[in-house]
Symmetry: C2
Subunit: 603 residues, 2 copies
């Protein structure tokens, strides 16, 4: 099997750290057990080993391209769509009634980890297809569902989400695409959408665009946005296709993820583009946000998985490349000794552990967040609200930490290879380019940070935060019962205190209405808070590892568990102390980035 991720680490997280069996105990999942999940993961790995991973480099070298008003993607995409449809991967978390496997979201995200690590250029095609089909099954009429969903889940038709417009960018209140009501209840759609991932290609017969548009006369801003299904081809009663006037105006050639087409779509240039309203008018954005939460976790997962693949690529190199010699006690190197493998140089080991510390905890955070999503969606009614709060709070961090620190991890992996890391013959440079998009997709880091500090921390008077602090405190208490984990438990407690101290400082700004200042360093707050949340993941992993070592009950060997404890220590020595610098910045009284009437443009 190809090593681009660790099945052991994934199983450790699902079964021993985050107790997927709790989720499987929900009524909805009564047909599943841990063994069936493991078999499914193995099947995903075997498939991607054979059909995904071998095409990763080629998809980069022969990117999707636009020619003569068409977009051509790598031929393997078509095969993967077909296989995915036939084997149920697109519909894996859909209910039985839609032909799905009715898996927990957590399991589908774990499968996505395998997919993205194998080939991050492919997963989006499938993920947006399930995501948009899921919007239809959630909010669309039975008729709309029947018309579109089966072929999407079968991999015959692709799906997209169309939000961004040239003049609006991330500011959805400025969406201008218009929907003119027709007498038959349908709408004529006119407008421009850019950065549409998987927005055109030859891999499926049809492409179904879930599109935000404004019904004529709708209120200004986000309150006037509605959601429409706009297919590339309309389906006639006999099942044949009719062109729906969705033109691909061009494509975006990108730094990375070059196998994944990104296009500019023009709707209704010939005034013949029909859209079908999904749900009620003017509620489009709230519907889209159901999908956005998932999409954000999936981007976090794409970042985690790409950085994981980079970690294993650099680890393999470090284990095979001899160079130089270790420093001896006299401070010199014995030139007559054989060269050592570079993994034995302290700085190289530091670079490997840094990657491991980032990627393994990123995965843990994503799984914790998705478990909360499952417990919210299908768990006991009485617990749902709390899990919803936790999921909402963790989502921006689970998107951002892996995206931002994943960049650093891949950068570090490239550095392990020295000059070879910069060469196109080695895969690190591709991961370096691929991972760069993740902190931009689905809301940039700046936007996620404002979401975290501006909405999630404050929602319900800080209830979500209190729940999270409680979760973290439980792990601190439990870890403190092991003498050798105690110092780390204390360090986490102190770091958590820093977050609270910072919030004591910041909250009055929001209370006094100085929101711009309150949010001005949201990105630094994101760094602070996610560092603590990742440290919590590491302490939890170390605690479970310690348990397994002490009781001898774990499924893995002792080296596996020791490596978790060691990497936790690494994180606490090298990464967690960054909370002090972030806190120092956030506690400062200086406002240096806000434009005011007095300030000139000093940049």
């Amino acid at each position: 099997m190809s090593t681009y991720m660790s099945m052991e680490h994934l199983r450790f997280l699902l079964h021993e750290v985050h107790n997927i069996s709790d989720v499987l105990s929900h009524e909805k999942f009564s047909d599943l057990d841990p063994e069936s999940i493991d078999m499914l993961l193995d099947a995903a790995k075997a498939w991607t080993d054979q059909e995904w991973h071998p095409y990763l480099k080629e998809m980069d070298e022969k990117p999707a391209y636009f020619k003569d008003n068409k977009v051509y993607s790598h031929p393997q995409i078509k095969k993967i769509f077909k296989d995915a449809g036939e084997n149920g991967w697109i519909s894996m978390y859909f209910d039985y009634e839609h032909g799905g496997m009715q898996l927990p979201y957590t399991v589908s995200l774990a499968v996505n980890h395998i997919f993205e690590a194998a080939n991050n250029h492919v997963t989006g095609y499938l993920g947006l297809t399930s995501g948009s089909a899921h919007l239809l099954t959630s909010f669309g009429t039975k008729e709309l569902q029947d018309q579109f969903v089966p072929n999407m889940l079968a991999g015959k038709w692709g799906g997209t989400m169309c939000l961004t417009e040239p003049q609006a960018g991330s500011s959805l209140s400025d969406v201008k695409t218009s929907a003119q009501p027709l007498e038959n209840g349908q709408y004529k759609i006119t407008g421009q959408k850019i950065f549409i991932s998987g927005g055109d290609h030859e891999a499926t017969e049809n492409i179904i665009h879930l599109t935000l548009a404004r019904i004529e006369g709708a209120p200004e801003g986000t309150k006037g946005i509605s959601l429409f299904v706009v297919p590339k081809f309309r389906i006639l009663d006999d099942g044949s296709f009719e062109d729906n006037d969705v033109i691909t105006a061009g494509d975006f050639q990108k730094l990375g993820q070059r196998g994944y087409s990104t296009v500019h779509l023009s709707f209704g240039e010939k005034n013949d583009c029909i859209g079908y309203l999904v749900g009620e008018p003017n509620k489009g954005l709230s519907y889209m946000f159901q999908m956005m939460n998932g999409a954000r976790l999936e981007v976090g997962m794409a970042a985690t998985s790409t950085a994981t693949a980079a970690y294993y690529a650099s680890l393999q190199y470090a284990k095979e490349r001899p160079q130089g010699r270790r420093i001896e006690d006299n401070g010199r190197k014995n030139i007559n000794a054989e060269q050592t493998l570079i993994i034995n140089h302290a700085d190289v080991r530091r670079m490997l552990f840094l990657q491991k510390a980032i990627v393994e905890a990123s995965l843990s955070l994503l799984i914790e967040t998705s478990v909360y999503q499952d417990k919210f969606a299908s768990g006991p009614e009485s617990e749902r609200k709390n899990y919803h709060l936790l999921m909402e709070l963790l989502t921006p961090m689970a998107k951002t930490y892996p995206s931002e620190k994943g960049k650093q991890a891949v950068d570090t992996g490239l550095q392990v290879l020295g000059g070879y890391g910069f060469c196109m013959d080695f895969i690190l440079q591709q991961y370096y380019r691929d991972v760069r998009i993740m902190s931009i997709y689905e809301g940039t880091t700046g936007i996620q940070s404002i979401d975290l500090l501006g909405r999630k921390v404050t929602m319900e008077n800080g209830a979500a935060l209190m729940l999270l602090v409680q979760k973290i405190s439980e792990i601190i208490d439990e870890a403190s019962t092991f003498e050798d984990l105690k110092p780390y438990a204390s360090q986490l407690k102190k770091s958590l205190g820093k977050v609270q101290e910072v919030l004591m400082k910041l909250t009055p700004l929001a209370m006094n209405g100085d929101y711009e200042l309150y949010l001005s360093d949201a990105t630094i707050f994101m760094d602070l808070a996610s560092n603590v949340v990742i440290a919590y993941q590491w302490l939890k992993m170390a605690l479970k590892a310690k348990h397994a070592l002490v009781t001898g009950t774990g499924k893995f060997d002792s080296a596996f568990y020791e490596s978790k404890i060691h990497t936790m220590k690494f994180y606490y020595k090298y990464e967690l102390p960054r909370v002090y610098s972030c806190a120092e910045t956030l506690m400062s009284d200086e406002a240096l980035t806000i434009v005011n009437e007095q300030s000139e443009i000093l940049v």
Copy 2:
């Protein structure tokens, strides 16, 4: 004029911050004055505006390539070599006797800033040509100089340095290329060299390789390495060329700097490759290190300049792109208001100031280091030793800080553009790729860090460090005389104290012979020390700006000086506090990255 760097900032540093007039007062530079330097810089800018910058994107899109045993570079390289030779840019810091302009090294580095910011794919071709010619004028016989130097400085022949070999990588003690003495005093060269920048191309008639090789029977390790001139073509008595059996075995296609050819050379496959010894046998590495110090500063400058160009590209975008609205006092955004330019969003301003803070201080550090180099090379005898120590100490930081933080700066610039930053139509993605090599070239960050902590900090019982602390303390004292700079002076003093505290902790390790542990976190020490040194650059710049504002004597307007003070404050709020986290890591007693007999491989 194209804006890819700031002539004002460069002049401010040369004239007001680092007093280039001190250097110009050296006997050697009696023909120069500040005005002539400014004119020269203007000429460099005008030339690069016209002949360099417009080709930057094209050189990336149509990279140098290897075909039929030849390497083809962009045609503009040939024109630039010719113009550079004719106008004296290659020989600018050479003495009059070699036909040079006899400029201070600092001025040539300032010119390099303009060159690299305009087009970082070109400068290396010229820089290695002057660097290798300079090795010849420093250590070669008159005969060798006469044979090679004039044509190199005229831009007719290129020059390279050939160090790295496939089996040795950064470990020069493992160099195997062999030199077999012939009766006529020449040598037959046999061996393989990789990663040779500018190692083959069609832009010059001949290429002169300054090559490290081992004379048969020489001692093992670095003490047995000699330096040879190995031309691509030997020059016959009538001036005609004869093939010298230097074969280009292939090229390296790279992530960035794609216009700059990088090749694998094979010497003496037909046993007909002649090399000429430079200087004495077995002293090759010490000669090469004369060039390496300069090369390291030039890489730091390439990183600084690339990141500077990226900063200006993102600044321009931020000033032109309307998107979203500022947050109002009620915490909402007025959707009826016009969109604001993104430069008015606090997080975007933060990203712009971060770039400015990194790139402007990087330039300042490089200029300070090169002024010390000039004062060492041509200043009064009594001061030379101290300036040499300072130059030696600062060089690894002046190479590494711009390379490492330059990556972050460019990454931040790309983020300012959001999705467009990831698109090939915008230049940010190219700078992102180009800058990535800088922390690998001429000794990776790991190697620079070991040089800093292992050699430079300890040399002459810490004399260099004491000199630097004295320089920093002078600025702290002077800044403390201005009430509004006082808090920053205190913060710098405290941060400097952290470095000293860390060294008190680490030094006993070296004294007790535990060198591997002493050096194991050298990279973190590099981060700590260079952060303080950059903070010192900012305080010095702010101090000079304050002086200019108070006395009204500066050459720039008050907004210019205010922006320096504001950016200093930004650095002290957002960047300098990282010393606390670095110090926390370095003060830890845990050794987590050293392999020992007990430890399994835990990565």
